[in-house]
């Protein structure tokens, strides 16, 4: 270790319950250097940074600051060590103004906001920031809020800055501005760690790049020696051979056609940008993309949960042979039309199941409208619950156990089992294997394959590119709310998908 090392991590490990978020991670950052930490979603980047910032406490391993071993017990302690973190979800109090937010938690003698304002202005001038001191945080744009966050950290005299996905919400112009500021701070001798999964940004801004994959440290390369395909390979890993039986689609017919769909979120930002594709019966259509690129919104739009600004979603009913436009129909209307979409939400307990209710009751959530008696018939849902437990090997004491007490994999099986039981013609599944072990994952893959063979059009949103390539017949890649490519699952290369996932699109989802 040289004197030039600002912070060094040795063998850091952090687990949440059974999930290993970080495993034996070692890396170091020098003064006057920008280090990028690169990795897919869920690779443990944020967890690692939170340990440096004192939000999480590591289970194992050591942290050295300026060559001395430290044990960072709280965010305050991190500040005392001159470590400042700019969180992805800004840590600002909405109803305070910039100055109040910046001085928050600092004890510097008398409480004088005017003097503090003058001092903050000095910092701003030094690095070329602009802050409107009369505005409250809730009146500010995302970029303004980020500026306040950065100034807050600098004002506290941080020498080690951590930025968690700072560019995710910025426009290209704002990103350029941010990068100029970062370079200025680097030249000022500060150590900067920037987390991102956008390859072109990594190559543009950083001096060195550390790559994490699935909670493990893969390696560090000098940016000068790196290129996109090499980084992609480090990020997504070597090809692991999976054994998913993929049958040829039998007699595919167009079941669902999405035409030029545009959607806006509550803030008026475009989340789906001119999306068009078709889903065929008897095939699995995979959707790949960095989390938050619009996958969730796309599925919600089809399920009738997301308002569509313009565009059409045409559903070809296999029974009647008629075509129906799903646009602007409520989920219930979609059901009444005979259009059956089964939806496995990303947040399986939040949207799919009621945690405090048992398996039988959760089955009834889908069937309560059946029958005409004012009393509920519990027999059928109970039989269904028992069938799912038996068929999918759900580990549970009985059908009366609250779903919340089951492990993640078993919850997932119950949810997928219920959705499949309604014999859908289109089955949409978002991240159905998130947090599951290999065996449970394979049960789910086999279920999806079984549906495909029955002639269901399956739409599968996944994170693991290996699985997408093995499982899906076609893979649609989405980036920043746009379709950047539709590939054949049998011939697609992981690197190819990776590049399409990070492909810079106009606006990048952040433009209004």
């Amino acid at each position: 270790m040289t004197n030039n090392t600002a912070i060094e991590l040795r063998n850091l490990t952090k687990t949440f319950g059974k999930v290993v978020a970080n495993k034996n991670i070692s890396l170091s950052v020098n003064k006057g250097e920008i280090l990028s930490v690169l990795g897919e979603n869920g690779s443990g980047k944020t967890t690692l940074m939170n340990m440096i910032a004192g939000i999480y406490f590591p289970d194992e391993g050591q942290i050295f600051v300026d060559g001395k071993e430290v044990s960072i017990t709280s965010p305050k302690h991190a500040y005392d060590l001159k470590i400042g973190m700019i969180h992805q979800h800004f840590k600002l109090v909405d109803i305070f103004n910039a100055v109040e937010n910046i001085v928050l938690g600092i004890d510097e003698g008398s409480y004088n906001l005017k003097a503090a304002t003058a001092k903050i202005k000095e910092t701003c001038d030094k690095y070329g920031f602009e802050i409107d001191f009369s505005k409250k945080i809730y009146e500010m744009s995302v970029s303004e809020k980020q500026t306040v966050e950065i100034v807050k950290v600098l004002y506290r005299g941080a020498d080690i800055l951590i930025l968690d996905e700072p560019t995710a919400v910025l426009t290209p112009q704002e990103i350029d501005k941010l990068f100029n500021v970062l370079r200025k701070m680097r030249d000022d001798g500060k150590a900067i760690i920037i987390i991102t999964h956008k390859l072109y940004e990594v190559l543009e801004i950083s001096d060195r790049i550390a790559v994490l994959r699935k909670g493990e440290y893969i390696g560090t390369v000098n940016t000068a020696d790196a290129n996109e395909s090499m980084l992609t390979e480090m990020m997504v890993g070597e090809k692991i051979s999976l054994n998913i039986q993929r049958s040829e689609p039998v007699n595919p017919t167009e079941r669902l056609t999405v035409k030029n769909v545009n959607c806006y979120n509550r803030d008026g930002a475009k989340i789906l940008d001119n999306i068009s594709f078709s889903a065929y019966s008897g095939e699995i259509l995979g959707i790949a993309g960095i989390s938050g690129s619009g996958q969730r919104e796309l599925l919600e739009a089809i399920a009738g949960l997301q308002k569509i600004h313009d565009g059409d979603i045409v559903y070809n009913n296999p029974k009647t042979g008629k075509s129906d436009n799903l646009r602007d129909k409520t989920p219930m209307q979609i059901r009444e039309l005979g259009v059956r979409l089964s939806f496995v939400p990303e947040d399986r307990l939040g949207m799919g199941l009621v945690g405090n209710m048992d398996i039988t009751d959760n089955m009834m959530l889908r069937s309560y409208r059946k029958g005409h008696s004012m009393f509920l018939k519990r027999k059928e849902p109970k039989d269904l619950a028992e069938k799912i437990i038996k068929d999918l090997q759900v580990v549970t004491p009985d059908t009366k156990t609250p779903v919340r007490r089951l492990s993640g994999g078993n919850v997932q099986k119950v949810l997928v089992g219920r959705e499949i039981a309604s014999s859908p013609t289109v089955l949409m599944a978002a991240y159905p294997v998130r947090g599951l072990d290999i065996n449970s994952s394979y049960t789910i893959y086999n279920l999806l394959n079984g549906q495909k063979e029955k002639g269901v059009a399956v739409i599968f949103v996944g994170e693991d590119l290996d699985v997408l390539i093995e499982l899906c017949d076609r893979i649609l890649v989405i980036s920043g709310g746009k379709v950047t490519g539709i590939l054949d699952g049998r011939t697609a290369k992981k690197e190819e998908i990776g590049l399409l996932m990070t492909k810079k699109t106009n606006g990048d989802g952040g433009e209004r």
Binding site: F16, K76, V93, F96, V103, L104, G105, Y138
Partner: protein, 328 residues
């Protein structure tokens, strides 16, 4: 008559002012303490127990030391309400229990606690009527400014109150100042708005929540003491405190979480609460409708504030939410 109405309205309002000032401090830390009615009840009965013990130790009540006669009930009241605040903090902050359930449980507990000890004291005195009278202690508590009687209506409206009443108003102004103009206040508001942000900024979230809840409870408890010793002239009867605890919580909303507004609000609420006594020829059921007025006004304020949607007039953002740093 107007002067006496205002005087009674203020005296009626002071317990509410104590309660709402305490609850504002508590809510600013993000803790929604619905146990305030119970806390005020416990504050009252603790003071009564202290005063009762002290009075009983004298054959001739004239021998009582005026200083101790005030200090003992005061300390008992502070202790009783502090324990209530600690129970609430421990359950919601340390054990992360649901705030609403905990608060309601404390209200039920506090009322029962008060009625149990109130009933016991009444039994000890072998009194014919279901109340205890602590007129000697009350006399010290309700001492007014000496020159008030000579100033006519001015004296009656402005100077005819006891030291606790003035203390309530000064305290409300002081709390306003602390919340708005000091670092302690800034930190506390940050904890209630966004504990994760406060934590990341190095503020001790747990400590702030405990301190605010306990201090808030003590202040609210004083409202119970004031009610018994001054407003009710030292007469404790079970359930005599009535709905004042809930009115205090309504007042917090009415005052938009600003103690200085609750000074005026408490007098208004106090006035609305007793206005039926000043309207001639109305029957009992009509009186009850008048007693509803403070709540009606609170609803009206809520409607107006919600319609205006100004962020500063909303409750603290994390009100009622338990905080755990490593939550994912």
């Amino acid at each position: 008559m107007i002067a006496s109405f205002i005087q009674r309205a203020v005296m009626q309002g002071i317990p509410l002012l104590f309660g709402s000032t305490g609850e504002i401090i508590t809510e600013k830390s993000g803790n929604l303490n619905l146990g305030i009615p119970g806390v005020m009840y416990v504050g009252g009965i603790s003071g009564v127990i202290g005063a009762f013990m002290y009075e009983q130790s004298f054959e001739d009540k004239a021998d009582m030391n005026p200083f101790l006669a005030v200090l003992i009930p005061l300390l008992c009241c502070v202790f009783g309400s502090l324990v209530m605040g600690l129970i609430y903090s421990f359950l919601t902050t340390t054990l992360r229990a649901n705030q609403n359930v905990t608060g309601l449980a404390l209200t039920t507990f506090g009322t029962g606690f008060g009625n149990f000890f109130g009933g016991s004291l009444i039994k000890i005195t072998n009194s014919d009527i279901p109340s205890i009278t602590l007129s000697s202690t009350s006399a010290y508590f309700s001492k007014t400014l000496p020159f008030a009687d000579n100033l006519g209506w001015v004296g009656q409206v402005f100077f005819s109150y006891s030291f606790l009443a003035y203390f309530a108003i000064i305290l409300a102004l002081f709390v306003s100042f602390v919340l708005k103009r000091t670092r302690v206040g800034l930190n506390l508001r940050a904890v209630g708005e966004n504990p994760a942000t406060a934590d990341a900024a190095g503020i001790k979230v747990i400590l702030n929540k405990y301190a605010a809840t306990c201090i808030g409870s003590v202040i609210a408890g004083l409202g119970g003491l004031y009610y018994v010793m001054d407003y009710a002239d030292g007469v404790w009867s079970n359930d005599g405190f009535g709905d004042r605890g809930w009115l205090a919580i309504a007042l917090v909303i009415f005052a938009l979480w600003k103690p200085k507004f609750s000074i005026l609000g408490s007098i208004l609420f106090g006035g609305l609460f007793i206005v039926h006594n000043y309207i001639p020829n109305i029957d009992v059921s009509t009186q009850e409708i008048f007693k509803m007025l403070p709540y009606a006004v609170t609803i009206l304020v809520l409607v107006i504030v919600s319609a205006r949607k100004k962020k500063e007039h909303q409750p603290p953002q994390s009100l009622g939410v338990t905080y755990f740093r490593e939550e994912r």
